[in-house]
């Protein structure tokens, strides 16, 4: 993949992070998941975004650990309102100038005492995964084994594996360029952009427990863990090439330092 293309993916990711960070300020007690998702959509429209791989999701409080999620409908934004001192997750996948990105961020209000400790524990686990996932991609193990390793790591840290509740239990998926002229949405997924990914195959595009896909390429990786009363995740783009794996953000920082 060309450097200019990777830069465009990174720009898309940065824009998405900015929008989600800005929206998080407006996640106040009393605002519902539906309202905040509508607001994020509107913020993206203001930035000129027209299409989405998936429209924004917001999960508040215990819903952020996918408590009792059985069907895909449970992932949809609901009228549930954010309560005081509840953690939440915002997740969006806009198509920015033809480049798909997928970003998920966890937020916590001013926690205190035990809940703060639990949140900090979650942060530590996610930071650990952020460090170890590129190394797993660089190792000899298969993508299915990466899924298993992350699962083992979460269990050993006494955290639940929540990404196993995603469709196909995915820890991640590939992303590509996408340029739909019109888009229809099914369960908030843009059929144009989804079809673009699916045109390369289904299971080869997903990082699940049974995937047999090669590791090379651009992935959106989203480890999601469940703690006591809430869930946490991050989602970022990672590029794997010639046995080397790097988060796009870090790749850019390294290049900047080099310059």
């Amino acid at each position: 993949m060309k450097k200019t293309e990777l830069k465009s993916y990174l720009q898309a990711q940065t824009l998405c992070e900015q929008v989600l960070q800005e929206a998080s300020v407006f996640c106040q007690p009393g605002v519902s998941e539906k309202e905040i998702c509508d607001l994020i959509l509107a913020q993206f429209r203001r930035q000129g975004v027209k299409h989405f791989f998936h429209q924004p999701f917001a999960w508040f409080g215990d819903r952020s650990r996918f408590q009792d999620f059985i069907t895909p409908l449970h992932f949809m934004p609901t009228a549930r309102k954010l309560l005081k001192d509840e953690a939440f997750i915002l997740d969006a996948a806009p198509v920015v100038d033809g480049y798909i990105c997928d970003v998920g961020l966890s937020f916590a209000p001013q926690f205190e005492g035990e809940t703060l400790q639990e949140f900090q524990r979650g942060q530590k686990i996610l930071q650990g995964l952020y460090q170890s996932i590129p190394k797993l991609f660089e190792s000899e193990i298969s993508v299915a084994d990466i899924w298993q390793k992350v699962d083992q790591e979460l269990r050993s840290q006494n955290a639940d594996n929540c990404h196993q509740f995603y469709p196909f239990e995915v820890l991640g998926h590939r992303v590509y360029k996408s340029n739909p002229t019109v888009d229809f949405y099914l369960l908030r997924f843009g059929l144009g952009s989804a079809q673009n990914i699916l045109s390369h195959g289904l299971f080869s595009q997903l990082l699940g427990p049974k995937s047999k896909s090669p590791k090379e390429g651009l992935w959106a990786i989203e480890p999601h863990l469940g703690l006591k009363g809430f869930g946490m995740k991050f989602e970022e783009l990672i590029y794997v090439q010639d046995g080397k794996a790097q988060w796009l953000k870090q790749m850019h920082l390294q290049e900047e330092a080099h310059v």
């Binding site: 300020v25 009393g30 605002v31 309202e35 607001l39 509107a42 913020q43 429209r45 203001r46």
Partner: protein
């Protein structure tokens, strides 16, 4: 107080210029919303996002906001309130109603008579036609009621009315509210205590002689009344 951060939201069929006199008299930083300056919204959420876009620098700096709104700017202020949470210091509503208060007025024949002009604008398609064919008559009527704005803003009213539906929600705030009603307002009856109890725990009602555009008629009085109200808010905090 110079640390005050005001956010002025205009009504129909005005623009941000309606606040010039009052803005100069209110001590502090001011942000104004001008509907004609924003990209055509597709939904109520677009309008909320536009408001929040204006306020983003103040919110990023952890400033507390005082919303001053007029007429159809008032329901927008109420739509914004939940997203601001504790960053909303106080609200000043001038000759305008919250969505819940609007609903409760639908059962008031006296108010319905005053709001005769609303009906076509609340019907999709009819509002645009009314603007196209009845513009001059509407402008004449509004000028008789004290309006001093520019006629091109009429199209904004249509926009407001349609988007207003998207903004309708049962908003309630724990921030203090000052509701100012003019006794000779040709469009609205003065707000009652029962109506205020629908939306706020802490509020003051001021009924003053004057017409619909108080910020143009008596800006000095209004600035003084707002300063007095804010003094109370700051003391309480």
């Amino acid at each position: 107080m110079e640390s005050n951060v005001f956010y002025f939201i205009h009504g129909f069929p005005d623009g941000a210029e309606v606040w010039s006199a009052l803005k100069d008299l209110c001590l502090g930083t001011s942000y104004t919303f001008d509907l004609s300056q924003i990209k055509k919204p597709e939904s109520g959420a677009d309008l909320v996002a536009a408001h929040l876009g204006v306020l983003a620098p103040a919110l990023a700096a952890k400033k507390k906001i005082i919303i001053v709104s007029h007429d159809l700017g008032v329901p927008q202020a109420w739509a914004l309130a939940p997203y601001l949470g504790s960053s909303l210091e106080a609200m000043v509503c001038i000759n305008g109603l919250s969505p819940q208060q609007f609903h409760s007025r639908l059962r008031n024949p006296q108010q319905l008579l005053k709001s005769w002009y609303m009906a076509p604008f609340l019907t999709p398609g009819v509002g645009a036609m009314t603007i196209a064919f009845g513009r001059k008559l509407l402008e004449k009527k509004l000028r008789q009621c004290g309006w001093q704005g520019q006629p091109q803003r009429f199209s904004d009213y249509y926009l407001y009315s349609i988007l207003g539906r998207g903004l309708f929600r049962k908003a309630r705030t724990s921030s203090k509210v000052l509701q100012i009603s003019a006794s000779e307002d040709p469009f609205l009856l003065p707000v009652t205590v029962a109506e205020m109890q629908l939306v706020a725990d802490r509020f003051e009602i001021e009924i003053t002689p004057g017409g619909h555009w108080l910020q143009l008629e008596k800006p000095e009085w209004l600035a003084q009344r707002i300063a007095e109200f804010l003094k109370g808010v700051h003391e309480k905090n």
